[in-house]
């Protein structure tokens, strides 16, 4: 990105509304962060005072939002090119790149410091690493370099339950790593199912997506491979401290449905997909959202029932 291109594209307004700044935080991504972090916090064996828990989830959400703002600052040049992102506050000319950078950095620093004060240094350290991973490793490095960007970059979205768990316990354990792994392995098939039917203009923006670099056939194969790897991991979690009979039943049902969906995607070719307007791919994408929500809800139910002697295997 040259200085000339910055000057040509940047719009100076300085009069953005409150909603424009809120949009910089990527509220939809933030909702996933809040939910999974909350489950991580509640599933932990150590109780947390409600006010401390509320503050911790809020600071984790703010940290996630800060990384969203910094991502929009860095990607402003390609956001201007792609139709899907042209309405974001920077390309729309509502907020300048400098404002977004300052806003993101301030919120990132504040969220990490406040999480350290409200909870502990392990949780704060994990939050700081998550922001660093999303902004530097994913946005600045991987996204424009490799078609595996979404695989490795997916780790950033997988950290919140681990941070929630660390807020309660002050550490990392097998259960929190499993929750991390669940989101990490779920991200690629979820995103690639979307990439198959979303005719995005990543190519024009110079972002190497798997559908462009390796083709749609390879993407279908990758979806099936990742879903096959995800299933034993998701079901295996049932036999750890966060699992139980309810989680097991939910995991078996959801993984069977997700595997069937991935199998259907693998069997199809582009001609069939075009003929029914990517019906299967759209169905599997919607199912993938329900899949993650279902697993984490089951973990939540198990943890809520545990004090009454109904959760887990005891």
């Amino acid at each position: 990105m040259s200085d000339a291109s910055i000057n040509a594209n940047e719009t100076q307004t300085g009069e953005a509304g409150f909603g424009d700044y809120f949009a910089l935080l990527k509220p939809r991504v933030m909702s996933l962060v809040v939910f999974t972090a909350l489950v991580g916090l509640l599933a932990a064996p150590t109780p947390v005072h409600p006010i401390v828990g509320f503050a911790a989830i809020l600071f984790i959400a703010v940290g996630g939002g800060a990384s969203g703002a910094l991502n929009m600052w860095w990607d402003a040049d390609i956001d201007r090119i792609m139709k899907r992102t042209q309405g974001r506050p920077i390309p729309a000319g509502k907020i300048t790149e400098g404002e977004a950078f300052g806003f993101g950095m301030t919120l990132a620093a504040m969220s990490v410091i406040m999480l350290a004060l409200a909870a502990n240094f392990v949780a704060a350290g994990l939050l700081a690493f998550t922001i660093f991973f999303y902004v530097v490793i994913y946005s600045m490095w991987l996204k424009r370099w490799t078609p595996q960007n979404i695989v490795i970059g997916g780790a950033a979205g997988a950290f919140p339950p681990m941070i929630g768990w660390a807020v309660a316990t002050g550490g990392v354990s097998v259960e929190s790593v499993l929750m991390f792994a669940l989101i990490f392995m779920w991200t690629p098939p979820h995103f690639w199912a979307l990439a198959l039917f979303m005719k995005s203009d990543y190519e024009k923006a110079g972002v190497p997506m798997l559908t462009v670099t390796h083709g749609r056939r390879a993407t279908r194969v990758y979806i099936l491979i990742y879903t096959l790897l995800l299933a034993p991991l998701a079901i295996g979690a049932a036999f750890t401290g966060i699992g139980g009979p309810i989680y097991l039943a939910v995991a078996v049902a959801l993984n069977a449905a997700f595997l069937k969906g991935a199998w259907d995607i693998w069997r199809r070719d582009e001609v069939q997909a075009e003929a029914d307007n990517y019906k299967t791919e759209k169905k599997v994408f919607a199912l993938s959202l329900f899949y993650l929500f279902g697993h984490f809800t089951a973990i939540l139910i198990e943890s809520i029932l545990t004090p009454y002697g109904w959760g887990g295997w005891s």
Binding site: F18, I51, L117
Partner: protein
Amino acid sequence: MSFREPHELHKRRFGRNAGLGLVLGGFVVLVFGLTVVKVSQEEFGFPQDGQAQTSGNAE
């Protein structure tokens, strides 16, 4: 006496300032709540007299 219709820009500016005010107010309440919880916890304790004097002498 007539009042001028506020410009759209002023409305936006007011919305931003009101939003920021609410966020800052909420932040103050949250920090106050956290402080109450932290000082109410069993492990919280003030420094012993001896420690306070030692640090005072060091100055």
